[in-house]
Symmetry: C2
Subunit: 331 residues, 2 copies
């Protein structure tokens, strides 16, 4: 079977690649287990480290170009992990860019799957940004109406609806996972409004100062990179009859305030490290992040077997230990 | 001020036109009352009766054509009533047509408003089809997640989200009203799955047989044409600070089963008339209609001053009496 990962050079795309390479099989056509013959990574920039596994091919390309999509998504493509996206801060700053990548490119991917006619699996990532924390007196559940107060959230909910309808029509076998804020990401800050949720741990551990742009009592809905990948693959493997409708699944998460995150850092790495966090409010980031729910009730996702982290200190330790590990499995 | 009505030759478009012509003013720029100087009706077919009022101009055109939209929506357009849509049955039968009209054309209208830069008012109609009756153990509220089980519903929810985000960004001052099934419509059956909700009253009153394609205990969420128009104009007139977010408002309605509708007809028009209804299930229509909620709790809309009908017998009498009235006000 052949797998396409859009945004394959990104953080989640790379982690997903290595997790898939370690698996003996994935559910293919008719949901029977099949070995993976090829994984294509589509992205606009090359991955940080080249992968020597002969099953892996990187394609540098523009996901808003239908010909590019057709070249990597064809009759032999069994599964698509559609991770390519413009993140929240960037989509807010550049409305047209967000619409083009998060909405138009998603439509191109879905239409390509549809014309192929063999009903590929498609797993898409969405986000906690689908919700607005001002809803329902703050008790957000899987049945709460998404009323996003950001263009990113708007575009993601639209894409969720399309994945659902394309699945209902039998054009694809799709599932969208609303992933909590992934923490702790390695590397550099990005344009996501939630970037600090990794930065306030990552930078102090590296001996650098970090800025926390939201108040200490801001609750964050978090998931470790490891569980994000486990859940993406679990979402792929579930039989469609088990998933049912809607095909959008709000993942469980761990609710931690920004202050508790820094206290956990203090407990794991010491006073000096934790003191490298500066509390400097940023109004634009605050407005976006405070519009997200800090906790969500997810009984459906838990029943479907999706998992959440249980404590933030372990997430810090896993991150610290992971830094010593090789970036990619040896091939 | 200048008003554009897309789908202006349609049933609601025509009723809205005549209601607007009778008003001394409408809230214009800066929400101050202004007289209406011009009303443009955009549609693909001419209205059934030409309007002699010099303020009215009909433009036959294709709403999927950006140039056509630009020709009717310009610097002087204060308000847009965006009613053009492919109805539920047609959008289910022709997926591409629904996407083109309900989604792509809506985007063209929104983008045109955006580039003009003067933040026009925009009132769009959406539908009870945004919901799915299988949600939340059938207790649907304004805060229930829309999980449409039709392409029409999907496209409408997407359009709602766009109107909301374009309003939040300050590109337009938009409001979307989720209108219950409008009953009783005059004229002929249409491709809406809900077409029978007018037909089972209209045809028997006209001496014709009518088919009810859903079981007698199917609850319908209804609104009279008169209140639909009143609510559209009310939605236009509300100050944006009063509407707040989300800009999507689920209108109140009257919950009546198909069986109760026919019993009301029996009570108003007699045994012979009511006996002209044949109960012949249609699986495709049943599937779509049963996916809609039969009742919705709408405290927000009621607080905002939107109104619902109180009994179906009055709706039948109003329809019967309206048949004797002229189709358009004399000008």
């Amino acid at each position: 079977m052949k797998v396409l990962i859009t945004g394959g050079a990104g953080f989640l795309g790379q982690r997903l690649l290595f997790a898939l390479l370690e698996r003996p099989s994935l559910s293919g056509r008719h949901e029977t287990a099949e070995p993976i013959d090829e994984i294509i990574l589509l992205d606009q920039v090359a991955p940080p480290t080249a992968c020597a596994d002969p099953r892996v091919r990187f394609v540098e390309g523009d996901i808003t170009d239908g010909d590019c999509i057709a070249s990597v998504l064809d009759e032999s493509t069994t599964s698509v992990f559609h991770l390519a996206a413009v993140v929240s801060g960037a989509a807010e700053a550049d409305f047209d860019l967000g619409m083009r990548i998060n909405l138009d490119a998603t439509r191109l991917v879905l239409e390509r799957c549809r014309v192929l006619g063999h009903v590929p699996h498609l797993v898409m990532t969405s986000s906690v940004a689908s919700f607005s924390s001002s809803q329902s007196g703050n008790v957000i559940t899987e049945d709460t109406a998404p009323t996003p107060m950001s263009s990113y959230g708007t575009q993601k909910v639209i894409a969720e609806l399309l994945v659902n309808d394309y699945s209902r029509k039998g054009f694809i076998d799709g599932r969208t996972l609303r992933v909590p804020t992934v923490s702790i990401r390695p590397g550099k800050p990005n344009a996501a409004a939630s970037s600090f949720a990794s930065g306030i741990i990552r930078e102090p551990l590296a001996g650098l100062e970090a800025v926390c742009p939201v108040p200490a009592d801001t609750p964050m809905w978090l998931m470790s990179p490891r569980l994000a990948i486990d859940n993406l693959i679990h979402g792929h493997e579930l039989a469609k009859e088990v998933v049912g409708f809607p095909r959008t699944i709000t993942l469980p998460g761990l609710s931690v305030t920004a202050g508790e995150m820094v206290e956990a850092l203090r407990s794991v790495a010491g006073e000096d490290v934790a003191n490298r966090v500066r509390w400097t409010p940023n109004e634009m980031i605050k407005r976006i992040v405070l519009s997200w729910p800090g906790t969500i009730a997810t009984p459906r996702a838990l029943k479907l077997g999706f998992q959440a982290d249980t404590d933030f200190k372990s997430m810090i330790r896993d991150y610290r230990d992971g830094l010593a590990a090789p970036a990619a499995p040896r091939t």
